[in-house]
């Protein structure tokens, strides 16, 4: 028996979110009186694999072969399911990101294992095995019983803190044969080095109240100064004021930063659906009755054009820039 956690890598490296995932899996294992094993797919060096031990993985299984060079959901599912069966995994933990969403549901069917998707806490109980997950796009949460012997959980991003432990993981290379992928990647267009909106701990976001694309400089500057990323509401990306990959909300990106600045954003339900898991929301809006203030912990009622430059100046002062 064990808890298996799939840790994705980005060009051979793990991220903070990988460590959150392993920390979570270790805690679930503890609740079940067993240990956590991580599985990594692709080319990751030994030193990097070892890092997973610092968050509680007793063992790290590394699978690396040609048929797993690109993310083909069938091939990845085969590989992870084989590992799970070999080690007798009772719970499989996967990230609730794009890759995780393409693998976890397939694992659920392959192993006839109940899926708890978008879970944001440790299981409420292990018997019956009950998880707490987002429902109605953040309008509510559901306690869901996973009724099968083996379970699959996808963990919501930034929902669990990293826990470091003194522990030395055993690294094991495993040969697993999987069929050649049916999907073929023809071309990759990738901007590397840029902080991803979904990884950012601080996000500064602008809405229609910013009035025009020309007014974005202080939003970008504030985000840069805080080491964060920029985002926007849907009408802003629809207008072409900002790129589509910044669109946040129900029909855009769902994010969970520690600090979310909503500037000139009214706070429509569909926008809130994408940001309601943020630890703190800060609202700047010239309308005191804007719904965004109902979900914000900090607010300024005022004109964004006047307030933003002063926020930028204040951060510069604090950071000594």
């Amino acid at each position: 028996m064990s808890v298996l956690v799939y840790t994705e890598n980005w060009d051979g490296k793990f991220k903070k979110s990988s460590f959150e995932l392993v920390s979570y899996a270790s805690k679930v294992a503890e609740m079940m009186g067993t240990s956590a094993v991580a599985v990594s797919i692709g080319n990751v060096d030994e030193a990097e694999l070892k890092l997973l031990g610092n968050y509680g993985a007793q063992k790290v299984i590394s699978v690396n072969q040609d048929n797993l060079k690109t993310l083909d959901s069938q091939a990845y599912t085969s590989a992870i399911a084989s590992v799970a069966e070999k080690i007798g995994a009772k719970v499989i933990v996967v990230a609730n990101n794009n890759s995780g969403k393409s693998i976890a549901p397939r694992l659920s069917v392959r192993l006839k294992a109940a899926l708890g998707a978008g879970v944001s806490k440790l299981p409420i109980s292990t018997s019956p095995f009950t998880v707490y997950k987002r429902a109605f796009s953040g309008g509510a949460y559901a306690d869901v019983v996973l009724k099968t012997d083996v379970k699959v959980i996808t963990l919501a991003q930034n929902s669990f803190d990293v826990i470091e432990t003194a522990n030395n993981a055993v690294i094991e290379k495993m040969d697993i044969s999987v069929d050649a992928p049916k999907t073929q990647v023809k071309e990759v267009q990738k901007q590397s080095g840029k902080l991803l909106l979904t990884d950012a701990e601080i996000v500064v976001s602008g809405g229609r109240g910013m009035k025009s694309a020309d007014n974005w400089a202080p939003i970008v500057e504030l985000a840069d100064l805080l080491g964060g990323a920029t985002a926007c509401s849907r009408p802003v990306s629809d207008e072409g004021w900002r790129p589509h990959d910044e669109h946040t909300g129900q029909t855009g990106k769902i994010i969970a930063p520690n600090l979310y600045f909503a500037v000139g954003i009214s706070g429509a339900t569909q926008h809130i659906a994408g940001v309601s898991s943020s630890k703190y929301i800060v609202a700047i809006n010239n309308d005191k009755s804007a719904p965004i203030f109902e979900v914000a912990q900090y607010g300024i009622v005022g004109d964004a054009q006047k307030v933003l430059p002063q926020l930028v100046a204040a951060v510069k002062e604090i950071k000594g820039k």
Partner: protein, 249 residues
């Protein structure tokens, strides 16, 4: 080529949900039901492909797993332009069960492309599309922001962290679509609404497959602390507060 678009029937996106029976059931009183936003866009893209004769797409069918109460939502999809519809007469209780029912439909009717949304706005599992594919042993592509058909084969744009990939995949396959798949949802014109009345909704009885999960109880989101207001004349104070209280700056 035949396309199947899977549609989920969800409360209007502005709904403030409430629960009854000791918080075990959704209070459906006064709820407006709509086609899940992603599925509306997915249907739109399927119809765009059909409109373009060069793609070879001959028909667009919608499928829904749900009770008769969801027929108005299916009619809406027909009014928007779907050629026909299938309803599996089952109470949808989890993604596994829903996907198993859809897989049975596909086995009987044979489609080349099956389109699902990335997430249903009610239970947010992002699961049905990939599960359908696994039940059928088909390839699936997630995070699809564009789907084209060139010389009879599908060319897909998949969103990845910090960029995109162009992927080709042989039919039949499942495409799990997200932002970008279509610009604006197509809306039903008067003619479409009239025609929808005469289009068939084919009824399938469900196969016996148990759900693997059960919703024990709903909870409202934890209350957030009330907003602390800072004077607009002194924004610096906001930064000081954030620094002192959240330790994030």
């Amino acid at each position: 080529m035949k396309i199947l678009v899977c549609i989920s029937n969800v409360p209007d996106t502005t709904t403030k949900v409430k629960f009854v029976d000791g918080d075990t059931k959704l209070d459906t009183n006064g709820i407006q039901w709509v086609i899940n936003p992603w599925d509306e866009l997915s249907l739109t893209r399927a119809l765009e492909l059909k409109d373009d004769a060069s793609t070879g797409v001959k028909s667009v069918t919608v499928a829904h797993v749900g009770l008769a109460t969801s027929e108005p939502t299916i009619r809406k999809a027909l009014a928007i332009g779907a050629d026909d519809a299938i309803r599996v007469n089952a109470d949808p209780t989890d993604a596994y069960n829903v996907a198993a029912q859809i897989a049975e439909v596909v086995k009987k009717e044979q489609f080349d492309i099956i389109m699902c949304g990335i997430e249903s706005s009610d239970f947010n599992s992002s699961a049905v599309g990939s599960m359908v594919a696994e039940f059928l042993g088909m390839p699936s592509v997630s995070a699809v922001s564009n789907l084209k058909i060139e010389n009879g084969t599908a060319v897909i744009t998949r969103e990845i962290d910090g960029g995109k990939e162009i992927i080709s995949v042989p039919a039949p396959f499942v495409a799990i679509v997200q932002k970008g798949i279509a610009k604006e949802p197509r809306i039903a014109a008067m003619r479409g609404i009239m025609m929808a009345r005469t289009k068939a909704i084919k009824l399938y009885e469900p196969v016996a497959i148990d759900a693997l999960t059960e919703t024990a109880k709903f909870e409202m989101p934890a209350a957030r602390a009330a907003c602390k207001f800072v004077d607009a004349e002194n924004p610096k104070q906001l930064i000081e507060l954030l620094q002192a209280e959240t330790k994030l700056i």
